[in-house]
């Protein structure tokens, strides 16, 4: 690991001031960044620790829930309001990593974590456009099991690994971003970027900006869940995951929200599937059609074509399950 200067921010203003400089990186729980520093993938000169900032989980006047960026993943998953109103989020968080990692990892850090592409992680021996722009991509033609089937580019086929973010996108979460020029609010769905020609740009965070909080708008009661499909029962990233919620009234779908994980460089809001379902019948045929409508855009690679079918089947199974009981 390259020697690094460690600073601790005692306020978000201090963090913004310290984090803005070149070579400075904000440090949350460190469960990803420190690993990448050990591997030489990340080499910040200065770490600004923001994990000690206040991270309240508070209910706003309009009923939204605001979660401080430094809140621990495990605290969010266990929070009574999260469990009562956004159970899909609690499930998604608990499907990720291990208890020890969730106890360390922060919400902001979770959203900022890097891809687990093994070629990205191999600084010594593999080419990666995300790590060294323009150097090439050794994942293409290599092991692509965990790589994208949606929204990839010839420059990069990496996926975003977060489970939590998939549920947050399905729940229309917004981010409060703070920088030298003040605070702005953006939709999480727009936060992560597809690779295009510049896979090194992963989010819309401007230099010097930091995530202050995640805001969950109020939702009407719905049946929802998070289903994660992976290569072992725990402690593995998603091959495919589905966060979904559905409201069925008189056999018709009054509201539906779906996001898919493990398939793209961002949590994938399944807008086409939602559109195909909204106001239609809650039937298996409709679910199959919706899943196919979404996955019609898929462009799989040799080695991950199965994920198209896996995503379709998982979507259908999740929606069928949700529609099956009392709404």
């Amino acid at each position: 690991m390259t020697p690094v200067t460690y600073l601790r921010a005692d306020s978000s203003a201090a963090a913004i001031a310290l984090g803005a400089a070149d070579g400075h990186r904000l440090l949350g729980g460190g469960t990803n960044l420190i690993d990448l520093m050990r591997k030489g993938v990340e080499q910040p000169a200065v770490l600004v620790d923001v994990s000690g900032l206040a991270a309240p989980i508070t209910e706003a006047a309009d009923g939204s829930l605001v979660i401080g960026a430094a809140a621990r993943n495990s605290d969010v998953a266990a929070h009574p309001l999260v469990r009562a109103r956004y159970p899909m989020l609690a499930r998604a968080i608990l499907a990720g990593a291990s208890a020890q990692i969730r106890n360390m990892a922060t919400v902001g850090g979770n959203l900022m974590q890097r891809t687990r592409c093994v070629y990205f992680a191999d600084a010594a021996g593999s080419r990666c456009n995300k790590r060294v722009p323009g150097s090439g991509c050794d994942a293409l033609g290599g092991f692509t099991r965990y790589h994208a089937i949606l929204g990839a580019s010839p420059a990069c086929i990496a996926t975003h690994p977060s489970d939590m973010a998939v549920a947050l996108v399905a729940l229309d979460a917004r981010l409060h971003l703070a920088g030298a020029d003040g605070v702005r609010s953006v939709a999480l769905a727009n936060f992560h970027q597809l690779p295009g020609d510049s896979p090194e740009v992963e989010t819309m965070l401007a230099p010097g900006e930091m995530i202050l909080a995640v805001e969950l708008p109020p939702v009407q009661p719905m049946r929802s869940t998070y289903r994660k499909v992976r290569d072992r029962a725990s402690y593995a990233f998603a091959l495919v995951s589905v966060a979904a919620g559905i409201v069925v009234e008189d056999g018709r779908i009054a509201d539906v929200r779906i996001a898919v994980g493990g398939v793209a460089a961002k949590p994938w809001r399944a807008a086409r599937a939602e559109a195909s379902l909204r106001d239609g019948p809650a039937s298996v045929e409709a679910f199959v059609q919706a899943a196919q409508a979404e996955l019609a855009q898929a462009d799989p690679l040799p080695g991950n074509a199965f994920k198209v079918q896996l995503a379709e089947r998982t979507l259908v199974a999740v929606l069928t399950d949700l529609a099956g009981g009392d709404a």
Binding site: G141, R232, Y235
Partner: protein
């Protein structure tokens, strides 16, 4: 592994077939067999308490004054040479004491490759170690950095700049097959076996299966990383290592560094998991050389990535198994051949056909292994090398045949149980695999299995049961030596350089010494893990316990004569000869007049001696050559497969074992379970991602290389026949590796029973079931 060896072993075997059994070791069964003592009881591990307290010191925890730390740098190409190596920045980095490269590494000959005939030949690779600028595989050590702290060494290692001149290298398994070579023997067994006309029998068999099976690359992942702490004082070398071969390593280091054997001490009292991976690799040579160059004690603890890069694992294989059967299901032909990797600089032939030779009776056999050379870190022995994956292919094929015959798979196996070695005709020393099958099937509830695949389901889950046979040969290593000491205070100590890797070796040694000497457990201690002690063989091939036991037996046979000599004329034992006394009740007693007895305390007190010691070696292991000796198992698995996602969840495993006397049910059950869990990893989750374009391992972390986690491991039931083997010390056979054999077959067969889908390549991941 030569033709000469085939002739020698073959000649010895045929000569021994004429020698009466009672002339051989085990000819007279070990008197401890069947005696109720400490053996067979559930003694707690003697090292359990200090491990729980955190007081057991492992190789990377030994404190030393002036200790410095090393980090390795690995090649990023598969073959070629180093065109430029710039270590300036590393050398001037804070804390750096030394950068070792091929330019300044002293001349050191690599250890000789592992050999069955030379216990000091313990190398896994005979490539030069930092001796020249050439690169032979991706990940090879090309430099090492030594610094005052581990962090400084790690950082400086990243500052070494290397340009390579890459050469053409074959890194693709499929491409290399055309250049495969055939070696004459696999360990001590002949490679090519042709018995009857198997292809012809197969062609005319009314029922046959003939398929290809593939198994994946695997890596070693002991929780304790490879590590050593090395210190030179003048020309004396002390190495604290984590190793399965203490005595062999001491001899190999002495040879490599040109110093007398008695000037090297290797200490390895605790090993945090070995499984075949903790042998001699390049890092010991580099660390010992660097310690000498820097003139300070040095620690090299490999990173997890370094373990993947320079410690080989299990070769991928492609195997063909064909079985022909008559209308009753009796095998008329059994064919097993295929390909695995063994680079010319490696030593492990991955003998996946060994188990097939003794598993079933058949009218004809055709068995052959081919080895291919690709540029990779040499593969090595990994828990049940050969059998773990060979039984996957064989037991899948048997299941496929049973399905074709519409016969119960257990019944088909019972119908083809051998009553002697099916090829050599050698008698089994003891063989009750049929009982293991019946007991296992009854306990597992095998009768609940649906004969028709894909018929049991619960919601989206299809449920299936499968079984597979397991097998591992009995091995007793020649040359085990021990020192047995009895003291005036009534205690005894057994000393040998054996290895405790967590299996319970030391505990079982204490149990048998207590029984041999007629002492309570509390009076017996053991000293192991030190090359200064009488040399035990390596811990490998599931052989250590019986190898040491034979030497303990020999020592216990020598001890009475010594004690009688000391007892003198005023002892109640006066006049008795060694053959006329037994050790019992903490002393010696006349066999015919048990009232004539005297305690060890009394004998030594009268003789005014603090202690008496004998040193002895085990008899040559001729029983291995005369008899067919195998641990066997019957494995059962119940699992569920999601109709939606293809995910597999194993619900139940049962292992039913026939391994001779079980010396300690607690430690044995733990070893069986551990092996079975490793079998689940082989069957379902583990896979080294070797990028065939570059020969580079792409998942050298425990996050990306999936060993089973707790949630993948179901309830595991373990039972055994506990029938002693009359030909082995204590009646025991090996139990360390048998646990993994048969599991992958049982899992694959259960997947078929659940879904009707036959998966012939491991690991069985969900995409193969969609």
């Amino acid at each position: 592994m030569s033709r000469v060896q085939n002739v020698i072993v073959g000649t010895a075997r045929s000569a021994l077939s004429w020698v009466p059994a009672q002339w051989l070791p085990g000819g007279t069964p070990d008197p401890l067999i069947g005696r109720h003592g400490e053996i067979g009881r559930q003694a707690s591990r003697i090292d359990g308490e200090i491990k729980v307290r955190g007081e057991a010191r492992f190789a990377a925890e030994v404190a030393m004054d002036g200790l410095c730390y090393a980090t390795l740098v690995h090649s990023t190409i598969a073959r070629g040479r180093i065109a430029r190596l710039d270590s300036t920045a590393a050398e001037t980095a804070p804390g750096v004491l030394l950068v070792v490269t091929h330019r300044n590494m002293p001349k050191v000959a690599s250890p000789s490759l592992v050999s069955m005939s030379d216990p000091t030949a313990v190398g896994n690779s005979d490539l030069p170690i930092l001796q020249d600028d050439r690169v032979h595989y991706n990940g090879q050590v090309v430099a090492a950095v030594v610094a005052a702290t581990q962090e400084q060494a790690d950082h400086a290692a990243t500052l070494i700049a290397i340009d390579y001149e890459a050469a053409q290298a074959e890194t693709r398994f499929g491409q290399a097959k055309s250049g495969a070579r055939i070696i004459p023997s696999l360990l001590i067994e002949r490679n090519h076996l042709s018995f009857g006309k198997a292809e012809r029998e197969l062609a005319r068999a009314p029922h046959r299966v003939d398929n290809l099976y593939r198994t994946q690359w695997q890596n070693h992942n002991a929780i304790e990383l490879h590590a050593l702490t090395a210190a030179w004082v003048g020309d004396r070398l002390t190495v604290h290592d984590t190793t399965q071969m203490i005595a062999g390593e001491a001899a190999a280091l002495a040879k490599a560094f040109g110093i007398p054997r008695d000037q090297v001490q290797v200490l390895s009292p605790f090993v945090g998991g070995g499984f075949g991976g903790k042998g001699m690799w390049d890092h010991q040579i580099v660390a010992v050389a660097a310690a000498r160059m820097v003139g300070r004690p040095l620690r090299l603890q490999l990173s997890r990535e370094s373990v993947y890069r320079i410690v080989g694992g299990r070769s991928a294989t492609e195997q063909r198994v064909a079985i022909g059967a008559d209308a009753d299901g009796c095998f008329t032909a059994l064919l097993h051949d295929g390909w695995s990797v063994m680079p010319p600089y490696g030593a492990c032939p991955e003998a996946y056909t060994l188990g097939t030779r003794s598993a079933y009776r058949a009218k004809s056999f055709e068995i052959l292994q081919r080895h291919i050379d690709i540029a990779v870190v040499p593969n090595t022995f990994m828990r049940a090398p050969g059998e773990a994956i060979g039984t996957f292919a064989l037991e899948s094929a048997v299941d496929e045949l049973a399905h074709n015959l519409a016969m119960d798979p257990v019944e088909l196996r019972l119908r083809n149980m051998p009553d002697k070695h099916p090829i050599t005709g050698a008698p089994f020393s003891q063989h009750a695999q049929d009982q293991a099958w019946r007991d296992g099937a009854a306990r597992f509830g095998w009768e609940q299995r649906a004969a028709k695949p894909g018929t049991r389901r619960e919601g989206e889950w299809r449920i299936g049961m499968g079984c597979g046979g397991g097998s591992f040969p009995y091995v007793r290593m020649p040359g085990a030596a021990v020192r047995l000491t009895v003291r005036r205070d009534g205690t005894a100590t057994l000393a040998c350089s054996g290895q405790e890797m967590g299996m319970g070796t030391a505990t079982v040694v204490v149990q048998q010494v207590a029984d041999r000497l007629g002492l309570p457990l509390s009076a017996v201690t053991v000293e192991i893990g030190d090359s200064a002690l009488p040399a035990a063989p390596m811990a490998g091939g599931s052989s250590q316990t019986v190898s040491i036991a034979a030497a303990v037996l020999a020592a216990a046979e020598k001890l009475p004569a010594e004690l009688l000599r000391l007892a003198g004329n005023s002892s109640p034992l006066s006049g008795l000869r060694a053959g006329e006394v037994r050790m019992e009740g903490e002393g010696l007693a006349s066999a015919s007049e048990p009232a004539r007895r005297e305690t060890f305390r009394a004998i030594l007190s009268r003789a005014n001696l603090e202690e008496v010691s004998v040193t002895a070696s085990g008899t040559p292991p001729l029983e291995m050559l005369k008899f067919a000796m195998h641990s066997t198992a019957a494995m059962f698995c119940e699992l569920r497969v999601s109709d939606v996602t293809g995910e597999i969840r194993v619900d139940r495993l049962l292992g039913s074992f026939d391994c001779g006397t079980i010396l300690n049910p607690r430690t044995a059950a733990s070893q069986f379970r551990g092996g079975m869990i490793m079998g689940l990893g082989l069957a379902l989750t583990e896979e080294t991602l070797l990028d065939e374009r570059s020969g580079r391992i792409m998942n050298p972390t425990l996050a990306d290389y999936h060993v089973p986690v707790h949630m993948d491991v179901p309830q595991i039931d373990v039972i055994w026949t506990d029938i002693p083997d009359p030909r082995s010390p204590l009646g025991a056979r090996g139990i360390g590796e048998i646990g993994i054999t048969g599991i992958a077959g049982a899992v694959a067969n259960a997947v078929f029973n659940a879904t009707g889908k036959r998966v012939r390549d491991l690991p069985i991941t969900l995409d193969k079931l969609l």
